[in-house]
């Protein structure tokens, strides 16, 4: 481990200067990185799942529930990641992101819209300078099976088109085959081309499978400069789960204690109901604590979740359930 500035030579031989970060060590060798990752504690799967079962019994009532629903709305990364996406669909999604309930302007806007890189310009055109962020997936999302040059270009493209958040994927193949340094270097490189855009690193926990891997990948991504660590692409069989979120929240908590850097967590894929979202907020609350209970440090990557949050919000205020058609589809 050294703290000397790192210059990464990319396949197109342009090279990238890696900025030195204030509090984080920089790794220039595989063995240094391995030594750092070896200090991580193992995870007892039964215990982690038991902890979640217990936390899931928390009962949010009255003002807490109202507050939590609004908080959850403000944490949504409203997402459309389909081959069939069009400029029209993205535009309507952006409108919804800024004013989730057209009939009630007291509803907070969501945190961001999340689209494919080629849709960023369309999104930015609608979002303009509104506080809603424009997030773009990149690095050959969702599989990440492309050369580093392509991944960097993919990222640059999105940033130049106006994305202020980048959701990259890690190379799971490299991670699972033990080539941790490759995963690290790629994240460092992508971070460098992000500029001021925030970098969310998707671990694709459904492909990492074990909680030990999730903790290791979380730590690795944070060391490499991730502003957020994110569970999933939403494109594989297993997406965000509560125990995985628990492990990642423990990781960001421990990382903040060790290096003084707060890294956010984004859970994505399969979160559809208010009940699910509130369970995640309870886990955030009782694991990482209040610092993470803001859109700056916790996000839900979801599409259908928003309308259920709106439905439950209306129920809390009026006492009655609205017809689902009261809220716009996207």
């Amino acid at each position: 481990m050294t703290s000397s500035a790192l210059r990464l030579v990319t396949p197109d031989s342009t090279g990238i200067e890696i900025p030195t970060r204030k509090n984080l060590p920089t790794f220039v060798t595989e063995s240094g990185l391995r030594t750092e990752l070896k200090k991580l504690s193992g995870i007892d799967a039964v215990g982690a799942e038991a902890r979640i079962a217990k936390l899931s019994t928390r009962s949010l009532k009255k003002e807490t529930k109202k507050y939590a629903i609004d908080l959850a709305i403000s944490m949504v990364d409203l997402t459309t990641l389909e081959g069939a996406d069009t400029a029209g669909r993205v535009a309507s999604l952006c409108t919804k992101a800024m004013h989730p309930d057209a009939n009630n302007l007291s509803v907070p806007s969501v945190a961001a819209v999340c689209v494919y890189p080629d849709m960023v310009a369309n999104a930015r055109a609608v979002i303009g300078s509104s506080p809603v962020h424009v997030a773009s997936v990149s690095t050959a999302f969702p599989s990440g099976r492309a050369s580093l040059a392509v991944k960097l270009l993919d990222t640059k493209d999105a940033v130049e088109a106006g994305a202020d958040e980048i959701d990259m994927v890690i190379d799971r193949g490299a991670f699972l085959s033990g080539n941790l340094f490759k995963v690290y270097e790629e994240i460092v490189a992508v971070k460098a081309v992000c500029g001021t855009a925030h970098l969310k690193v998707i671990l694709e926990t459904g492909e990492l499978v074990t909680y030990d891997n999730v903790r290791k990948a979380s730590w690795l991504a944070m060391l490499a400069g991730a502003d957020f660590i994110k569970t999933s692409t939403g494109k594989v069989g297993v997406n965000a789960t509560l125990p995985v979120a628990l492990v990642m929240l423990e990781a960001v908590r421990d990382f903040a204690e060790e290096y003084g850097e707060l890294v956010g967590v984004k859970v994505a894929g399969g979160i559809r109901t208010t009940k699910d979202a509130l369970k995640y907020l309870v886990v955030v609350n009782e694991t990482a604590g209040s610092s993470w209970l803001t859109p700056e440090y916790f996000r839900f990557g979801a599409s259908s979740l928003l309308n259920d949050l709106l439905l439950q919000r209306t129920k809390q205020l009026s006492g009655n359930y609205a017809r689902p058609d009261r809220f716009s589809g996207d």
Partner: protein, 496 residues
């Protein structure tokens, strides 16, 4: 001499400030669900006696000190009536009832417990002071599970490993404590009935309500009259039951002092005896333990049920190399525990069961400080009424301190350190008790090495306070003898 581990007052404040910003609004369960009657008689021969025929005492809600119900005090004559009823039922009915028939009743009881689980959970929480989350998710489901499990054994006793056709003992006198009132009743009744015995059950003086509700369930299940009799009262009722000549078996769960007295009193009487007594469980933490789950395990080990658990992990033995890190993480969790109204669905730690128990906890913890240990206490705000003790951890505890030797039976943890596995084993075994221990390590071979050398009836690996009807539970040395649960639990109720 080790360097003392210091975690000062200001640290507790900084720990608190890191905690969650989501303040949970009250989420109280409704007390009306319990349908507690104003007064209760004794349950003898399938009927409740008239409360007017007995002296009485009140059972109170330890969280509010409000009276819940007037309970009958069974005297020697009542005990005799209950034992005679059990004896008659044994001779005329239950000993002639076939295994599959007995199983039918046990399955019915199990299902009725499930059906009335909410009522049972609320009643238990009101009477005992433990959080509704625990009665709802642990006590009541486990009680039903015990009846289900032993229902399965009732017609398979020949295959339990106690001979071709093992016979029941007869009338079992069963005395249970106040820490898990319904669950202990289930632990005692289910194997006894499956094996073909009849029972006289005496619940603890401070927590009689769920046993009386169970009596209603037995009526609903149409269990033949007299097969189970439930008598309420204080220690004198228990003593009369122990000394009754027609009782063939005594099963007692409670303090080591009372257990010793019982054993002396029945010496030479030919009565069978099983005792499940106190403990001073050690939770042994190695440096390669899964740290977050281990911290949860320590919390569950000592603060589950306010620490009113005979197998509580009340001694924490931590490898010195990680002691500071463990303490910091542990105190962060302690500070996070939600102490208060047991009926609130978000409460983690409820009320101490009685003023008497609170006094004992307070007295013993005071000696901790006097003897030089460092006391770290949660800054939680305790309710003004009722019996409460804040979650507390002692560091810099030495083996000779009273808080490291005596059972506190409250939310008080004593933390000690060790350097080698040998030292961990030596310290864990340096107690008069031998009920339960926990071992935390990611290295299986070390866990087994340690477990082999621990003198305790139950050893948990990477978990603590996990109960299951299929798993035998019981202690060695001053923690008692005999097993409850599993195939082994049948032995206590068979003439083998």
């Amino acid at each position: 001499m080790l360097d003392p581990i210091v975690l000062v007052e200001t640290d507790m404040e900084s720990l608190h400030s890191q905690l969650g910003g989501l303040q949970y609004d009250n989420a109280p369960e409704s007390a009306a669900i319990a349908k507690i009657k104003k007064e209760y008689g004794l349950f003898i021969n399938g009927q409740f006696t008239s409360p007017k025929d007995h002296k009485s005492f009140f059972t109170i809600n330890p969280a509010t000190e409000e009276k819940l119900s007037k309970i009958s005090q069974a005297d020697a004559n009542d005990v005799d009536a209950a034992v005679q009823s059990a004896k008659r039922a044994y001779e005329k009915v239950w000993s002639k009832t076939t295994g599959p028939e007995r199983a039918k009743y046990l399955f019915r009881i199990a299902r009725l417990i499930q059906e009335r689980s909410r009522e049972l959970a609320v009643t238990e929480t009101l009477d005992n002071g433990k959080p509704i989350r625990e009665t709802r998710d642990i006590d009541v489901p486990l009680a039903a599970a015990h009846f289900f499990y032993y229902a399965g054994w009732a017609d398979k006793l020949s295959f339990a490993g106690y001979g071709a056709d093992p016979k029941p003992i007869g009338v079992a006198g069963q005395i249970i404590p106040w820490n898990f009132p319904l669950l202990m009743a289930a632990w005692k009744l289910a194997p006894a009935l499956a094996a073909g015995n009849t029972c006289v059950l005496k619940p603890a003086e401070t927590t009689p309500l769920t046993a009386l509700l169970l009596a209603e369930i037995l009526q609903q299940a149409e269990l033949p009259d007299g097969v189970v009799n439930i008598i309420t009262g204080d220690g004198s009722t228990g003593a009369a039951l122990v000394e009754h000549p027609d009782v063939n078996k005594i099963a007692f769960t409670g303090s080591t002092g009372v257990g010793r007295m019982i054993q002396q009193r029945i010496a030479g009487s030919g009565k069978h005896l099983t005792l499940e007594l106190g403990g001073k469980g050690a939770n042994i933490v190695f440096e390669d333990a899964p740290i977050d789950e281990m911290v949860e395990g320590i919390i569950d080990g000592i603060f589950f049920n306010q620490g009113h658990v005979c197998c509580a992990g009340s001694r924490l033995l931590v490898q010195e190399s990680i002691a500071e890190d463990v303490l910091r993480r542990l105190m962060r969790r302690v500070e996070q525990l939600r102490v208060g109204d047991p009926m609130d669905k978000n409460t983690d730690v409820g009320a101490v069961n009685s003023a008497e128990q609170l006094a004992r906890i307070s007295e013993l913890t005071a000696t901790g400080e006097e003897e030089g240990a460092t006391r770290l206490t949660s800054t939680c705000v305790l309710p003004s009424k009722g019996f409460w003790f804040p979650p507390t951890v002692f560091t810099n505890v030495s083996q000779s301190h009273r808080i490291a030797r005596e059972e506190i039976f409250g939310p008080v943890l004593s933390m000690l350190t060790f350097r080698t596995p040998e030292e961990a084993v030596q310290k864990a075994n340096n107690t008069n008790y031998g009920l339960a221990c926990g071992v935390w390590s990611e290295k299986g071979s070390r866990t087994l090495w340690v477990a082999e050398r621990l003198r305790a009836g139950v050893i948990w690996a990477n978990t603590y306070n996990k109960f299951d009807p299929t798993s035998p539970f019981g202690g060695v040395r001053e923690s008692g003898f005999g097993r409850e649960g599993g195939r082994q639990g049948l032995e206590a109720y068979l003439n083998v």
